[in-house]
Subunit: 241 residues, 2 copies
Amino acid sequence: MVNNTKKTIDHIESEDFIPNLSYDSVIFGFNGKQLKILILEYHNTGLFALPGGFVKRDESLDDAAERGVRERTGLDQIYLEQFYTFGSMTRSDPQAMERILDENGMDRQKYKWMLDRFLSVSYYALINYDEVTPRPDAFSDNINWYPIDELPSLMMDHGQIVKKALEVLRDNLDKKLIGMNLLPTKFTMKQLQQVYEAILGENLRRTTFQRRILGMDILERHEKLFQGKAHKAPYLYSFKS
Amino acid sequence: MVNNTKKTIDHIESEDFIPNLSYDSVIFGFNGKQLKILILEYHNTGLFALPGGFVKRDESLDDAAERGVRERTGLDQIYLEQFYTFGSMTRSDPQAMERILDENGMDRQKYKWMLDRFLSVSYYALINYDEVTPRPDAFSDNINWYPIDELPSLMMDHGQIVKKALEVLRDNLDKKLIGMNLLPTKFTMKQLQQVYEAILGENLRRTTFQRRILGMDILERHEKLFQGKAHKAPYLYSFKS
């Protein structure tokens, strides 16, 4: 772990990165029932944060976000969607950054560029948290899934970033993308309703939900899912391509 | 004009700005019939561009975008909405920037930071172009409204930025915001349909449109708009608050 820390920190040289710009990712996890978010806890600081990072001078913004998520969470090839760039004057927290530098044995003078103002491009992702095992990076004691209504207090404006991500997710709920990333290719109406309920944070009436979704003409109906009593078997659906 | 140019250029010192970050604005104009976009033409270069600019170290991203639009177009207090940050490796065009510097009598060495890679946060706005008179800034020969299907070839990835802005506009069409910025407080169903048709770039059937909009339950119906024959007077509507 010590070697790993050393190696990672050596890689963060200011001249390799676009100054004053970071990204942060809100990685939503869903297991068919509960919606959670992936949060890192920095060594010995009690500081909780979204997985984030910097943009290398020779990589695209999207590549940076994907690389960063891979390095900080161990999650590979997850689909990230950019949603907003946060650029207020008050969002940076140099004192928190100093504590993180200190606790990781990083020289405040050498890494003073990290204490400067940062604007942050935010991304969100949706994955099934039963299928992945995130790993904390060298800066963090642990990385954990937190239910969206039980988040710890997050550093800087990360709480606002999560709030905005949830708004965007709710606004985009009827588009195919979100369901497609959280559900198997074929799914039942009940599974789809559970996705909606988890994201909206409220229970929906089965009949109203079904009528509304079918009215949107985005689903294709397939065979029934036979398990147990045949006359109760629900139909399987997929999103129209 | 020469004095004005000098003054503006003196204000652009690299240490005042966040490096490698710019913003660009897609300002949509609508006059009840046609949807247009505001485009600047740089002095003697044949280069057309969206109004854009840099972010000062001591101002928020949103403030920078508002200030920049005011300085570059003369338009004050227009509502801007951020929609995407463009960060590919190939988006910058240092040769075009060199021509702009040369034509404005700006030293390439002194302003070499402008030739570097830039990521750009993009904003869009919606205004009634009959009510405003944009003015070109010191760098530009002119500033004009172009219909969205008759745009000149734009520098860098500004064509892609416009394309994305239109997609976002179409995705958001059913939200109140867009109509509210383009229409008077009270409007007829026909006026609302004209907004939709301009943004979607297609004609809609009156009966289908009316049924769909009324079904969304976002409008409040008011008195009739009497002009000419009373029995043909259309109802006025406003968006529900």
